[in-house]
C-alpha cells in the first residue's frame, strides 16, 4: 500500500461514525484540557485510558491521539490572554502572546495560533504519512552521547531565550537546574534533597512550577494593580479578532520553520512538544526578520512555537507506530491501550493492523480540521472572558489553577509547590529576572544528567564517548556557531551604538 492508497483506506476507517465521534471527543477534550491551567495532556489521556478498553482499539487510539494534539491547540489560550500557560509546551507562547494581548491583539493572536496549530499539525501528518518508516530509524541513531549534546547544548543556547541581561537569565536557570536535582536520581533511584518528605521523592513536578511562576504571580500582579482591579478591561472590537494582512504575512514563515523543527523533535525521545516550542522560539529569535521585536509582542514569537508543539505532538506518532517504542508518557499510554486489546505494537503494526496505522493518520487530518473549526469561533468567546471583572475573574482562576494542579497527581503537596512558585515568580517579576530560563533548567536538568550518566555507564567511564559520534560532534559545533554568531551580533550592535553616540557628540 503506498501512502495515497493508505490514506484513502484510512479515511474510510476514520470516517465511520464511531471513529468520527472518537476524534471529535478527543479534539474537544484535548482543547478543554489544554485551556484549563494545570491539567495537561498526560493526565487527560490517563483519564480516558480505562474508557478505551471497552472501545474498538482504533477508536480508542484515535481518541487518545486527539487529546494529545488537541491540548496543543488549547494550551496557548490562557498563556496569551492571562500569561498563564495551560501546559508546559505553551510557556514560551506566554512571553510574546501576553504582550500582544496587552496591545489589544489578543483575538488576532489566538487566530494566528489556531491556524498555526492547524498548519503544524497537518503538515506533520503529511510527514508521518510519507516518511514514517524511514524516519523511525532516526531515533536509533540517537544514544546517550547524542542526547547529552542535544540537551546540554540546548541549555546553553537557550540561556538567552527571553532576552534581558545574561545574569537575569542565568540565575533563574541555575535555580531551575537545582530544583531538577530534587528527588530520585534518574539512574540509581537514590533520593536527593528530599529532607525526608516522601512527596519530594518524585521530584518537583513541572506543572505546579509553571502554573505558579506564571499564573499565580500574574494574579498577584493583577491584584496589586488597584487602579485596574475595579475596572473591566476595555472591550475588544470585532475587527481586532482578525489578524491584519501584515500579521498573516509575518506568521507564515514562522509557522513553517516551527513545523519543521517540531517535527524533528517529535522523532526522538524526550519531552518533545515542550522542547520543540522552546527551540522554535529560539529559532525565531535567531532567524526572523523581526527578531528585535521578539519578547515585546511579536507575532513570530507565538506563531513559531505553536506550530512547533503541534508538529512535535503529531510527529511523536512516528516512533510509536513505526517502532512500537514509547518515547513519551502519552505514547506509553497508547501502547498500553494496544496491549490490553491484544494488539502487538512494533514494526509489524503497519502490515498486521493497517486499520490502526492508517485510521489513526487519516483521523489526525480530520481531527485537525475539527480543531480549527472548534477553535476559531472560540476566539471571540475567549477574548470576551477578559471582560469579566477582575474581582470575579481572579478568584475563579485561582480556584481553577489549584484544582488543575491538584488533579495531575492527586497531590496537595503540589498545591504548596504552586503557591511557593507563585511567590518566586512574583519576586522575579519585580526584580526583572527572566522566568523562561527557570523552566528550561527544570525540564532539561534531569534529562542532561540522565544522558550524561547513561553515556558513562555505556562507555564504562570513558568521557571521550561524548565526542565520538558524528551526530554529537555536529550538535556541539552548531551550539558553538550559534554562540559565536550571537556574540558577534551583540558586539556589532554595541559598536554601532558607540559610533552613533560618538557622531551625535
Amino acid at each position: 500500500m503506498n501512502s495515497l492508497q493508505g490514506l484513502l483506506y484510512g479515511l474510510q476507517i476514520a470516517a465511520t461514525p464511531t471513529n468520527l465521534l472518537a476524534a471529535f471527543v478527543g479534539a474537544f477534550a484535548g482543547t478543554a484540557i489544554g485551556v484549563l491551567p494545570g491539567l495537561g495532556p498526560v493526565a487527560g489521556v490517563a483519564l480516558i485510558l480505562p474508557l478505551t478498553f471497552s472501545l474498538d482499539p482504533t477508536a480508542g487510539l484515535i481518541m487518545m491521539a486527539g487529546i494529545f494534539y488537541g491540548s496543543m491547540y488549547g494550551g496557548s489560550t490562557t498563556a496569551i490572554l492571562l500569561n498563564i500557560p495551560g501546559e508546559s509546551a505553551s510557556v514560551v507562547t506566554a512571553i510574546d502572546g501576553y504582550q500582544l494581548a496587552k496591545k489589544g491583539r489578543a483575538g488576532a493572536t489566538l487566530t494566528i495560533v489556531a491556524v498555526g496549530s492547524f498548519v503544524g499539525g497537518t503538515l506533520a501528518v503529511v510527514g508521518v504519512m510519507m516518511f514514517s518508516s524511514s524516519l523511525a530509524n532516526l531515533a536509533i541513531l540517537f544514544g546517550p552521547a547524542e542526547f547529552f549534546a542535544l540537551t546540554a547544548g540546548g541549555l546553553i543556547v537557550m540561556s538567552r531565550i527571553s532576552g534581558g541581561t545574561l545574569a537575569s537569565a542565568l540565575l533563574p536557570m541555575t535555580l531551575g537546574l537545582m530544583l531538577g536535582t530534587i528527588g530520585q536520581e534518574a539512574v540509581t533511584g537514590e533520593t536527593r534533597f528530599t529532607f525526608g518528605i516522601p512527596d519530594l521523592a518524585e521530584g518537583v513536578s513541572l506543572v505546579p512550577v509553571v502554573v505558579g511562576l506564571y499564573g499565580f504571580a500574574e494574579l498577584m500582579l493583577l491584584v496589586e494593580d488597584r487602579a485596574h482591579a475595579a475596572n473591566r478591561p476595555e472591550s475588544v472590537k470585532m475587527r481586532d479578532l482578525l489578524p491584519t494582512r501584515t500579521e498573516w504575512k509575518r506568521a507564515v514563515p514562522s509557522w513553517l520553520r516551527g513545523t519543521f523543527l517540531g517535527f524533528l523533535f517529535g522523532l526522538v525521545p524526550g519531552p518533545a512538544a515542550t522542547l520543540a516550542s522552546f527551540a522554535a522560539y529560539r529559532l525565531e529569535k535567531a532567524t526572523s526578520k523581526y527578531a528585535d521585536e521578539i519578547g515585546t509582542g511579536a507575532i513570530e514569537g507565538v506563531a513559531g512555537p505553536e506550530a512547533a508543539n503541534n508538529s512535535a505532538a503529531t510527529a511523536s506518532l512516528v516512533p510509536l507506530l513505526a517502532l512500537g517504542i514509547p518515547f513519551t508518557p502519552i505514547a506509553a499510554l497508547m501502547i498500553s491501550a494496544m496491549l490490553v486489546q491484544g494488539i502487538q505494537p512494533g514494526p509489524l503494526l503497519i502490515t498486521q493492523h493497517p486499520e490502526i496505522f492508517w485510521g489513526l493518520i487519516a483521523s489526525a487530518y480530520i481531527g485537525n480540521v475539527m480543531l480549527l473549526a472548534l477553535n476559531i469561533p472560540m476566539v471571540g468567546v475567549w477574548v470576551s472572558l477578559l471582560r469579566i471583572p477582575h474581582y470575579l475573574f481572579i478568584p475563579l482562576l485561582l480556584v481553577l489553577s489549584v484544582i488543575g494542579t491538584y488533579s495531575v497527581r492527586n497531590s496537595i503537596f503540589d498545591v504548596w509547590v504552586l503557591l511557593a512558585a507563585g511567590i518566586v515568580g512574583y519576586a522575579f517579576n519585580k526584580l526583572k529576572f527572566q522566568l523562561a530560563p527557570l523552566v528550561v533548567g527544570l525540564i532539561l536538568g534531569p534529562n542532561i544528567e540522565k544522558h550524561f550518566r547513561e553515556a558513562l555507564f555505556l562507555s564504562d567511564g570513558d568521557p571521550w564517548i561524548y565526542v565520538q559520534s558524528p551526530i554529537a560532534v555536529t550538535v556541539w559545533l552548531l551550539v558553538a556557531a550559534i554562540l559565536i554568531a550571537g556574540f558577534i551580533a551583540r558586539r556589532r550592535a554595541a559598536f554601532a551604538d558607540a559610533m552613533a553616540q560618538e557622531s551625535s557628540l
Partner: protein, 330 residues
C-alpha cells in the same frame, strides 16, 4: 480516571457522612457487609507498563464478584515504593488494597531505608496474580545465535558484553546479576531509565550487545526480525516466545521472574480478609483470568495468602545473596 475517582470519592465522602449521622456505620456491621462502597486499588507504577493491564483485569473481575466499583489508581514513583507504602499505611478496612511486585515488596526494603515494610510480616498477603519472566534479546544481526554463544563470549571476555536494563537494580537487572553470580560471568548492565523503551532502543541501535526486559514491550521487535530472543529466565518453555531457551534448561537454573501480588494493610477485620481472599482465589483461578494472562505473556501461578507470603519471604533471601554478590564485586 483520577479526576473521576476524586469526584466519586467526594460523593462517597458525602454519603459516608450521611450514613454516620444516620448511625448506620457501626464497625461490626461494616465488616459483615463489606463491601458497601467503592474499593480503591493502588498501582504503584505509571500507566503504560506491564503492571497496568493486569491490575485492570483483576479490578474488573473483582467488581463483578463484589458488585461495587473498584477504582484503579496509579501512584507511581520511588521504585514503586510510594504506591506500595500508600496501601500498607492505609486504614485496614478493606477499601484500600493494591498491587505489589516482588521488587517493591521484597527487594526495595533491602535497599531503601525507612520504608513502612521490612518483610512480608508488615503487610497482608492476599493473592498472587502472576509471574512475568525476564527475557534476553540481542540485535538480529548479532553474532550470537544462541544463549550458549553469548555466555561463552561473556566468559572469555569479562566486563566486555553490555546488556541494557530498564533501571539500575530493577528486576531485569538483578536477573542478569544472578546469572553473573551463578555462571561466573561479568556481563555489564547499562541502565536506561526511559521506562524500558530506551533500553530496547539501545539494543536496536547496537549501543549495547543485548537487552534484558519483558516480552510485552519487546515482542514487536522480535516478531519483526529486529531482535533475536536468546533466553527466557524461567524454568519451562515460554508460550509467547517458544524460541527462547528457558534458563531452567541450563546449569544456572536458579532464577526468578517478576511476580505481581495483591496486598492489603495488616489488621483487616477477619470477615473482610476471608471474603477478599476467597474472592481473589476465585479470580486468579478462573479461566477468564488465566486466558488473559496467557495472551499477554504472563505466567499463571496462583498462590493465596500464606503461600504467597512464603514465596515473598523466599525472595528476600535470594535478593540478599545477589546484593552481597554485587557488594563483593565492587
Amino acid at each position: 480516571m483520577r479526576f473521576q475517582s476524586n469526584l466519586r470519592r467526594a460523593a462517597w465522602a458525602g454519603f459516608v457522612l450521611l450514613a454516620a449521622v444516620a448511625g448506620l456505620s457501626q464497625s461490626a456491621r461494616a465488616a459483615d457487609e463489606w463491601p458497601t462502597r467503592d474499593i480503591t486499588f493502588y498501582v504503584p507504577y505509571a500507566p503504560g507498563g506491564s503492571t497496568d493491564p493486569i491490575s485492570r483485569k483483576y479490578a474488573e473481575l473483582l467488581e463483578k464478584q463484589l458488585k461495587v466499583k473498584v477504582i484503579v489508581e496509579n501512584k507511581p514513583g520511588a521504585s514503586a515504593t510510594i504506591g506500595t507504602g500508600a496501601v500498607i499505611r492505609a486504614t485496614p478496612d478493606g477499601y484500600t488494597i493494591g498491587l505489589g511486585s516482588s521488587s517493591s515488596l521484597a527487594y526495595q526494603p533491602l535497599e531503601m531505608k525507612g520504608l513502612a515494610w521490612k518483610s512480608a510480616n508488615d503487610y497482608q498477603s492476599i493473592a498472587k496474580l502472576s509471574d512475568l519472566p525476564v527475557i534476553l534479546a540481542v540485535p538480529a544481526d548479532a553474532r550470537w545465535k544462541t544463549l550458549d554463544d553469548f555466555i561463552a563470549e561473556a566468559k572469555a571476555n569479562p566486563r566486555k558484553l553490555k546488556v541494557s536494563v530498564s533501571g539500575l537494580r530493577s528486576i531485569n537487572d538483578i536477573v542478569i546479576q544472578q546469572l553473573n553470580k551463578l555462571a561466573g560471568l561479568r556481563i555489564v548492565t547499562v541502565p536506561f531509565t526511559g521506562g524500558g523503551g530506551e533500553a530496547t532502543l539501545a539494543a536496536l541501535g547496537g549501543r549495547v550487545d543485548g537487552s534484558s526486559g519483558f516480552a510485552p514491550g519487546m515482542k514487536g521487535q522480535i516478531d519483526a526480525g529486529k531482535l533475536r530472543v536468546l533466553a527466557v529466565f524461567q524454568q519451562g518453555k515460554y508460550d509467547l516466545l517458544p524460541d527462547a531457551k528457558p534458563i531452567g534448561e541450563t546449569p544456572w537454573k536458579d532464577t526468578f521472574p517478576v511476580g505481581y501480588y495483591v496486598i492489603a494493610p495488616n489488621g483487616l477485620p477477619k470477615a473482610i480478609l476471608e471474603k477478599l481472599t476467597a474472592v481473589s482465589k476465585t479470580i486468579v483461578e478462573s479461566d477468564e483470568f488465566k486466558s488473559f494472562l496467557k495472551a499477554n505473556g504472563y505466567t499463571s501461578d496462583p498462590k493465596i495468602g500464606d503461600d504467597m507470603k512464603q514465596e515473598l519471604a523466599g525472595y528476600d533471601a535470594k535478593f540478599r545473596d545477589v546484593i552481597k554478590f554485587l557488594d563483593d564485586d565492587k
